[in-house]
Amino acid sequence: MGILTKLGWRSLRTTRGRTLMTIGAMALAATLAVASLVGLRSVQMSFYRYALQNTGGMLAALPATTPAKAAKLRADPAFRKTVSYVEEGRATLGQTRTNHIQEPFHLAALASADKAMLKPLLVSGRVPARADEVLMSDLLVTDHRNVGSTIKVTVAKRTKTYRVVGTMNGYNPSFLPTDGLIRVAAKRPAGRTVVMVDLKSLSDARAQLKAITKRAGLKQDQLQVNDEALSTMWGSADARKRSTLVTVVAVIMAIVGAVALIMIYTSINLSVRAHRQRYGLLRSIGTTPHQLRHLVYGEALMLAAPALVLGGVVGIGGLAVAFHLMNGVLAGNLLPITLILTVDWLPLVGAAVFMALITLLAAARPAWRASRVTPIAAIRALDPSPRLTQRRLRTPWWMQYLHQPLLRLAAKFDRREGRRGTMLATLVVTVALFVGLTGFVGNIWRIWDSPTSADITAVVSGRGDQTGAMRQLIRRLDGIQRSLVTRQANLVIRRDAAAPTDDALTGMGVTLYVVTDARAQRDFAGQPTLLNTKLQYVDAKGHATIDWAVDPKVTKLKLTASDGEADTKAGRVVSFKVMPLAKAPGFGGMLYPDGQIGLVVGTSQYRAWAKGLNLPARDLQTAVALKLTRPAATHTTVVKALKGRFGQLPVTDTVADNQQALALTTVIRTACYGFITLIALVCLATVVNHTFASLMTARRGLAMLQSIGTTPRQVVAMQGWQYAMLLVRGWLIGSVLGVGLSVSLFKMMIGGYQQVHIIWPWAQVLIAGAGLLVVGLVFVLVTWRMLNRQDIDQLLRTA
């Protein structure tokens, strides 16, 4: 060990109290760094696992043309797990077309060993167990084709009979063909095999998959990837998403870095100031400036090492507790995501490197200062007088209003003590970050859907007119405040010379609502009525405006029935009157005010249009929207009743969704507030550290004041005024900056969305003020105790 390293180590051990305080302060910064990096990594892995659930735990799917290629793919060492299925061919059911599902669809065969993958897809029934059983997409369900039915399936001109034992969610993003049929086979049959894979290493996953695809002799567009999962691991194909993710992480670490830098800089700077005479002595016996800089850097790193270990333990322990609590909230609200604490080498090494770099950066200026200490400092122990400009020596205009002598003295000291700059900067940063970030978080999580529409909506498809049965059910249910039962279908607006439209309207969807003639007469004067909604439009420059979806002066449009992707139907020009949705009797308050426009017609009118629209009655769905008197208490019962009466049907439970959203936002808000509070505490600890160190340095000066007749009470009062001036200045400047930060972040986040107004963070400003008041009172108390205990004579004798 070199002599200077030995000197640094011994010096730290000798001044144990100061060393432990410095390690403690740096450990706070390390806690912040470790908790942030491990927390971000854990959230990343948690969301990755959550996104992977959608594709049965598989990251990608590769179609192999031959069994040999499939076998080769399965044997690739890059994969942690592979599951294969065979596409047996395009199938038809040989029955009348329903639900606008395009035939033919896929029949796939999965090995029975892998049938566990089908369970998450189940909507009703069970997973096939025998060769003559199939799982059917719920998009194919009709009155005559459901669980328990026998169906004839034709593939490559060969027809086989299967029994439907279960239905699966046709919109599930799984790699399995959920829009068709899946059967289970004891042995994988021959045919085009799709190999679903999960990688061993997620490092540059997209590039790995591309390379594997190329090696397998496949085209890149044949590769299917769970983009949502990959995007959580920096692998999104969307460059904007990637850069957004990187930016968020960079901003968080920049804030952590800035706060840690201030904290560590203050600690090391105080230490260098305290050892000025020692540095002067070393310089006088021949230590070069370079060697002194190394001494300071060495001491800083010696302090950072135990701080990092302590910070790591506290940070990871704190995260474990926080995750446990948050998982309880998530599970209690039936949210399917679990936060998994992931402590692997990446964030730990990252935190160590981060702390080392921040420490070296923070030590740079103090090291430079130490190297500038002249040898004469060894003899002249007192700090040099601050370099004061004439401006600082002059009495400013406002001091004439200070009549109290102590207050005037406090103001002079405050003005002339040059070292307050760092403390003021730290205070300003603390208050600005606290007010700015908490204000922003408090605003941003207000933006979720408030219940301005129905609490529950459901749609019954493929079973003809179920409006009677629906109304019967509603009459039996408790707690229904309002209901809207209609038949409905989706139409699309087309261009036509007889009904010209602009580009914004062409292709827009319109929901056709068919009501009874009596109701059409009573509520809409028997006329077809377009229910107009307000939509937000964002121009190329990102400016948002809110306007009617359809110009209220429009009286006719060409409409046609939507038929999946290929809208080739001729359609019909229809005339109507326009009414704002909010004013439509029975519809206002039940549909989304910024949702799709609707067209209400009576049954007779519909019949007259049906042929022109190409919309037969069998294609109309039965739709219900319900508003509940006691949503939280009764929503589950109502949903159960609907499913009990009509089987598995798509139901939107806004009450449950909002509860889940609330739980999720509570968890995220807690995490954000926790992060911000930790930052604020670290900054505050810096201020406290600095103030106490300054107090220790000022002891001799305060002793001199006492020696010339100033009472301890007067000295404390003077110090108190100095603290107050500093804290108030920091609070005011920090609050202004914090409010500005909150507003800027909020405007950046909502991107011109006009329907949310900012809540100014005055509460946060007051909380910051209250916090600083408590800190100030503690300083005063400590000063009082110190003054009452110190030996004035001893202090005055010490050089």
Partner: protein
């Protein structure tokens, strides 16, 4: 042969009208034992610090052998002090967390060189500190601490030893011991020694006495 030459040294501290040193010139021969005396505030310590490269003059030159001391940059000046100058202070100025042996060998170790065990043992014996080699300064008496300071000043066998009131904080017995050590170094090892003192008994032991009054050498230059 002159080992150290000072020419028209002037030192004025910021904010003060009167210079602390006002055109001091002197020359010290190799192997001399010189005492600089003068009343309090006369500029003795200032002169010593300028001769040792500890402080920079407002104007004037200091030359050690052929080296213009104040023509050196900060790093060169530090190395110069380490190798060519041995400094002894009134208040010892030892590093409290280093042992006796470590304090003594510090200038050599700063040079990146190892101290031969024989050399260190010999020096410790001369200083009467052989049994205290592993003690910390806080465990030593004033006289012992000053002996450690002398050892530190001599370890690199510098061209010149500058002592600022080395006995100022010691009783008579210890003062005598310290002066004996300095004389020993001067006579037996040919060490050039310059001592600042206000003690006439200390000054009487020197070969040449320079008197400084109000920043000027008035006698014996």
């Amino acid at each position: 042969m002159a080992i150290l030459t000072a020419t028209e040294l002037v030192k004025t501290y910021p904010g003060e009208e009167q210079p602390a040193l006002n055109g001091v010139s002197l020359s010290i021969e190799a192997g001399e034992f010189v005492a600089i005396v003068g009343p309090s505030g006369s500029g003795k310590s200032t002169l010593l610090h300028l001769l040792g490269g500890v402080d920079r003059p407002t104007s004037g030159r200091v030359q050690l052998y052929d080296t213009d001391v104040y023509g050196l940059n900060e790093t060169q000046l530090a190395i110069f002090r380490r190798r060519q100058v041995g400094l002894i202070y009134q208040f010892y100025n030892l590093l409290p967390s280093l042992t006796v042996a470590e304090n003594i060998t510090l200038p050599r170790e700063l040079d990146g060189k190892k101290v031969e065990a024989n050399r260190l043992n010999q020096l410790l014996d001369q200083l009467g500190l052989a049994e205290k080699r592993n003690a910390l300064p806080g465990q030593l008496s004033g006289g012992q601490q000053q002996r450690v300071a002398i050892g530190r000043a001599l370890i690199n066998e510098p061209a010149i030893v500058l002592a600022d009131e080395p006995t100022g904080n010691l009783d008579q017995r210890n003062s005598q011991e310290i002066m004996s050590l300095l004389h020993f170094a001067n006579i037996k090892q040919g060490q050039t020694v310059v001592v600042i003192t206000h003690d006439p008994q200390v000054a009487a032991q020197a070969q040449r006495v320079l008197t400084i009054t109000d920043g000027r050498l008035t006698e014996g230059a």
